[in-house]
Symmetry: C2
Subunit: 160 residues, 2 copies
Amino acid sequence: MDAKQLIVKSVLDGWNSRVETANKLFDSLSDEDLQKEVSPGRNRGVYLMGHLALVNDKMLPLLNFGPEQYAHLDEAFLSKPDKSMDLPSVKEVRALWKNSNAKLTEHFNKLTPDEWFQKHTSVSAEDFVKEPHRNRLNVVLGRTNHLQYHVGQVALLKKK
Amino acid sequence: MDAKQLIVKSVLDGWNSRVETANKLFDSLSDEDLQKEVSPGRNRGVYLMGHLALVNDKMLPLLNFGPEQYAHLDEAFLSKPDKSMDLPSVKEVRALWKNSNAKLTEHFNKLTPDEWFQKHTSVSAEDFVKEPHRNRLNVVLGRTNHLQYHVGQVALLKKK
């Protein structure tokens, strides 16, 4: 295994194991639990789950995998704060989360190590020459961190 | 820049930017804020800050940089839950966090890309042949995720 293969494995293993942990966490929480705020006055679990699904969805165009699917939910989970508008049901948001991951996994599994080191779509070809670390793999690194940030918050909804 | 250099840069940039964000967050919170629970009945900010400092400290032996410095605080921040014993003052815990990062940075800056791909100390030479992704860089990847998990929780202490 060369360095590229090794690091692609590390990054994808990291992503997959955190998604798996997030799945177990969401599955362990009831719809009622997910309607609660993670701390008084803060986001509810269902908002964070939807937010994570939307951020997943936006990786599709960013990684050049195809168009996003949930642009109609941008306001609900990205541009507006929680409790400013009606959200889809918890059941629907659970499906958004699961489907967004299934879609990513399907594309992730097709890429070769070299393709992971290609540029993502929000960096220009000129800038990529100067900043070659702005590749697809780096996006997954950043998104794994983003996932963990919110999973740590949702974990506060677990019964002690 | 070859693949090794690129990915070492990505992983270290990721770590450094998250530590920087954590620093700003801790600095923005008063000692009194950090004595509060991130959500009712959960860990206090000061406990999480100390916990992160201890996990940093344990990277020293794990990455073969030298002995850990804070083993005397294992009970306070690792093996026992928050509120089971007296903790050092918030001021002292702030210093643990800062010092643990300074120590890591000092060592991180000395490693070559090839050295980042060497095994960490909790994997045997035999296992490393079969599982070469268990290298030093992979430890930093995992620890960045761990940091984010708890930073997401401490961020709940910010005034809205």
